[in-house]
Each structure stands twice: as C-alpha cells, then as structure tokens.
C-alpha cells in the first residue's frame, strides 16, 4: 500500500448559490494545479534546505568570512542557484495557470453569475455599495498575488468575475485544505472563541477586508444574534460576498463598501469584536497605522480584536525568513515582508492600545474531516506558510 495521502476533488467543495460551475475538464484542471502545489511544497521545497546547507551557505561563508546576516543576503545567493531558480519558475507558473483556469471558467459564465448575484442581492439593505469610494493605492498599484484585475476590477457592468475567480482558486493555492466552503480561517477563530472564551458573546462584529466574505460567514453563524459588518473597498467582491452569504442562509451580515482607514460612519467603541483574515500583509505602511487606529477607536472596552496572519519573521532563521519571503518579490505581495518585520505590539501601542497586552495564538480549523481528511497541521511537509495552522494576534481592550 502506498503511504501517499490523497486529496479531495475540487468538486467536493460546497456549491453555494453563486459558486461558479466547473465542467468536467475545468474541475480536472483545478485538481491538477492543486496537486502541483502539493508536489512543489512537499517534494520540491525540502530540497531547498539541502541546497542552502550543502552549497549556498558554505560558499557564502567562504566568500565573506561570516554568516549571512539578513534574508536579503540569503535571497541574493539562493536565487542564483539553479535548483532554486527552477522551483521559483515552476511556482510562479503554477500561480499564473491557476488564475487563467479560474478566469476562463468564470468568464464563460459571467452573465449567469451576475444574474444570480443580482437576484440574491435585490432589495437588500445589507449590501451597501458606495461608488464614491476610491480604490486605495495598496491595491490599485499592484495586482496582489498575481491576480489580474486584483480585487476591484470590473470588466463590464455588474461584473463579479474577479471575486468568483478568487473563490474558485482558494482551494488550489491552499492545496485543498480550507474545507468545503474555503472558510477554515473563520471557523478557526470561531472555534477558538467558543473553546477558550465561552462567556464572550459579541453583539456587534466588524470584519476588515472581507473579500468574498468566506471567513465572516462562520463568525456570523457562530454568533447568530450578533450583527456582523464586513468591510471592503472592492465592488465585485462585496456584491459576490453578499450573494454568497445570502445563498447560505446567513442574514446577519452587512457588506459595506468603505475604506478601513477611517470608517467615520461608525461611532467610537461600537464593536465588541473586530477581526480580519490575511489582511494586514496586504496593507501598505501608510494605511496600516491608520487602520489600526480605526480598530482602536471602534472597539469597546473589554472588547476583543483578533487577526489571522502568518507569523512574524522575528526570531526565525535567515533561511526560513527567505523562504517565507518568496511571495514578497515573486508573487506580487510587496508588503508581505515589510509587514512581517513589524513589531506588532509596538504598532498596537502606537494606535492607542496597550501593546503589552497583545497575545499570539495558533488556531486550527477542523474542516469537514470526512471529505478533506485531518487538518494537515503537523503532518504536511515543510511548506513555509501554506499549512492551515493559522497564527492569530490580538488583544482584549482594557
């Protein structure tokens, strides 16, 4: 018997009401790309440590008479190595293929998707679009994670294709580990809250940079009596997110087009819980402090703010930092590295919180184990940031 773990099919994902339909070959293409990501992370990536330890590191020490001091020094020499170059070329290419596959699939059913979305959204005051909102520089200047059109581009009136393609691809880039609704992150936060803070019953919840709302939905379900407000700047994402949540029977979320830098429409200390998932690494250094100040202003005393992110670089070896930092330069994530260098407690302090109260915790989602198998936390190869053990940071406001 083989000890190779098998992956579920993309077709095992839950077909919520606006889920793009994959024909046989499109699903097969997504499955191959998912396996390709798994192949790269479990079979190719481990060779990079060998390359570093056997060749690149000794050559560096020989040439400079000292250890490499920063990940940037490691990057310079690693990216000259043939094995590292080949891995990089394959990984970038896999990302590009995933976007082409997702886009081809959603563009051919663009009209049908728009219609379904419009139908579900019709007459709902829980979708609040604001055409005067400008796209901030942190996403207008760069197509984050190589996604053409980023989060906000509309190719025609009522377009939701960039959002739908994002939803389609989450399974592929995470190698199928986020569960049937790709909502493992939100589930992880909700599980942690229920287990560790069973008496915390937030009445008003704010989610920052919600994209397609997949992580806000499990929170809304965990606290059905709460009012959830999910904010984003991107029109297609908000339209799609609202219809997606509706189709799942979730009515206690409002999707609001707004810039998290200020949110003047909400009163001071008006939220019990403020969350985000994988948001801060896409925030520029100009925007991040303003957004944290907003969080500080809006959070009630005794309230909690908690954010899923990858762990900060501080304390990690320069090699591991280099590995984790690949996306910064090669996957259009310019803020990834700078954000992971920040002292988050200090940032919280500057925003007016007591930074010394910050905690960090690893949260894990148990996603549909029958279909998706046990969470890969711990049993997957070293993949530097792709495993679904979510690192969360946050604090309780005093």
């Amino acid at each position: 018997m083989s000890n190779v773990k098998t992956l579920p099919s993309w077709r095992a994902l839950t077909q919520h009401g606006v889920m793009p339909q994959a024909n046989h070959d499109e699903a097969a293409r997504l499955n191959v790309l998912t396996h390709l990501n798994l192949h790269l992370s479990s079979r190719v990536i481990p060779g990079l440590r060998q390359v570093y330890e056997k060749h690149v590191h000794p050559a560096f020490v020989k040439e400079h008479g000292r250890e490499p001091e920063t990940r940037h020094e490691v990057r310079k020499v690693m990216m000259e190595d043939g094995y590292c170059q080949l891995w990089s070329a394959l990984r970038r290419n896999t990302m590009e293929m995933r976007h082409q596959t997702g886009r081809a699939m959603v563009l051919r059913q663009a009209d049908a998707l728009s219609k379904k979305v419009e139908q579900l959204n019709k007459g709902c005051d829980t979708l609040q679009l604001d055409p005067t909102i400008e796209v901030p520089a942190n996403i207008s200047q760069v197509d984050i994670h190589c996604q053409p059109g980023c989060y906000y581009q509309e190719y025609y009136d009522q377009d939701v294709t960039v959002a739908a393609s994002y939803d389609v691809g989450l399974f592929v880039t995470t190698a199928g580990l986020l569960g049937a609704l790709s909502d493992g992150g939100g589930q992880a936060i909700a599980n942690w809250l229920k287990a560790e803070h069973p008496n915390f019953k937030p009445k008003r919840i704010l989610d920052l940079g919600c994209t397609v709302g997949h992580n806000a939905v499990p929170l809304a379900q965990a606290f059905p009596d709460a009012e959830v407000i999910a904010i984003d700047v991107a029109t297609p994402c908000l339209r799609y997110a609202h219809a997606r949540a509706k189709s799942l029977g979730v009515d206690n979320i409002s999707f609001v087009q707004a810039n998290v830098e200020s949110l003047p429409q909400y009163a001071d200390e008006s939220f019990d819980l403020i969350t985000s998932a994988m948001f801060w690494h896409e925030a520029s250094h100009k925007m991040l402090p303003k957004a944290l100040k907003t969080v500080q202003r809006l959070l009630k005393p005794e309230g909690l703010t908690i954010h899923l992110e990858q762990p900060q670089y501080h304390g990690k070896s320069v090699f591991e930092q280099f590995m984790r930092d690949w996306d910064t330069y090669n996957n259009n994530e310019p803020y990834w590295g700078p954000m992971h260098d920040l002292d988050l407690a200090e940032q919280l302090d500057k925003a007016g919180f007591d930074g010394s109260a910050m905690f960090e915790v690893g949260v894990v989602a148990k996603v549909d184990e029958k279909i998706f198998g046990k969470s890969a936390a711990g049993d997957s190869g070293e993949d530097f940031g792709r495993a679904p053990v979510w690192n969360a940071f946050g604090l309780w406001k005093k």
């Binding site: 579920p8 896999t94 563009l107 909102i133 400008e134 991107a234």
Partner: protein, 130 residues
C-alpha cells in the same frame, strides 16, 4: 488613489474571454532561469502537462462511466460523480503523473543531498593501484 471601481464596458458580450483569461498581472514579471526563453518553454511544457493530465482524467471518467452504465454518452461524463474510492485513485494517479514529469527536479534534489561524484572522479578513484 485611483477610482478603478467602475467598468468601461456595458455587457459581458464586449469582452474577449480568451485574452482576458490569460492576461498578465500588473507589474514586471520576474524570470528566474538564466535564459528567459528556456523559462517560457518550461511554462509551455507545464501547461501541456496539465492538459494531458486533464485528458487522462477525462479518459478515466469515461472508463468509469462505461463500466458503471455500459453506455457511451458525453453527458454521462459531465454528470459523472466520482465515488470516494475513485477520487482517491485519481489523486494518487495525479501525484504519480506529476512525479514523472518533474523527475528531473527530484533527481537534482537527490544529487544535492547525496554529493554524487562525477564519472571522472570515480574513474580516478577506481583505477588507482596500490
């Protein structure tokens, strides 16, 4: 700040799906290999490899459907819903397929960890006399 939240086209009939599906992300694309064209050929090879895998998947579905129903019908393939056993077999098959295509990368990794000697070096060592 730019206001790019607005579309320029009225309907999806005005878009070119082929071009738009494959369009590039904003910003200069990094090339990793010493020769840009070699990397482009690699990209093409990986796309071809993916398409072959898709064809293999379709054939496997066809066979499974034939076995199940004893009929040949395109619709039966579209509607075919794989069993857990079938999905696991496909997953394993795809992993083996990728391992074959990317064998050269695996072998490079092994050579790095094993410090293989060159034939000249081995020849020197093995033809030494006391």
């Amino acid at each position: 700040m730019t206001s790019a939240n607005t579309s320029t086209k009225k309907s999806s009939a005005d878009i070119d799906i082929l071009d738009l599906a494959g369009t590039k992300a904003k910003g200069q694309r990094p090339y990793f290999l010493a020769d840009k064209q070699v990397e482009q050929v690699l990209s093409i090879a990986m796309a071809v490899a993916t398409e072959l895998a898709v064809t293999r998947e379709r054939l496997a579905s066809l066979e499974a459907v034939l076995a199940e129903k004893g009929i040949i019908s395109a619709d039966a393939i579209e509607q075919f819903s794989p069993s857990a056993k079938h999905t696991a077999a496909r997953s394993l098959d795809t992993q083996e397929y990728l391992a074959r295509i990317l064998r050269i990368v695996q072998q490079d990794k092994e050579e790095i960890s094993q410090d293989d000697k060159s034939m000249e070096q081995l020849q020197r060592e093995l033809t030494q006399t006391d």
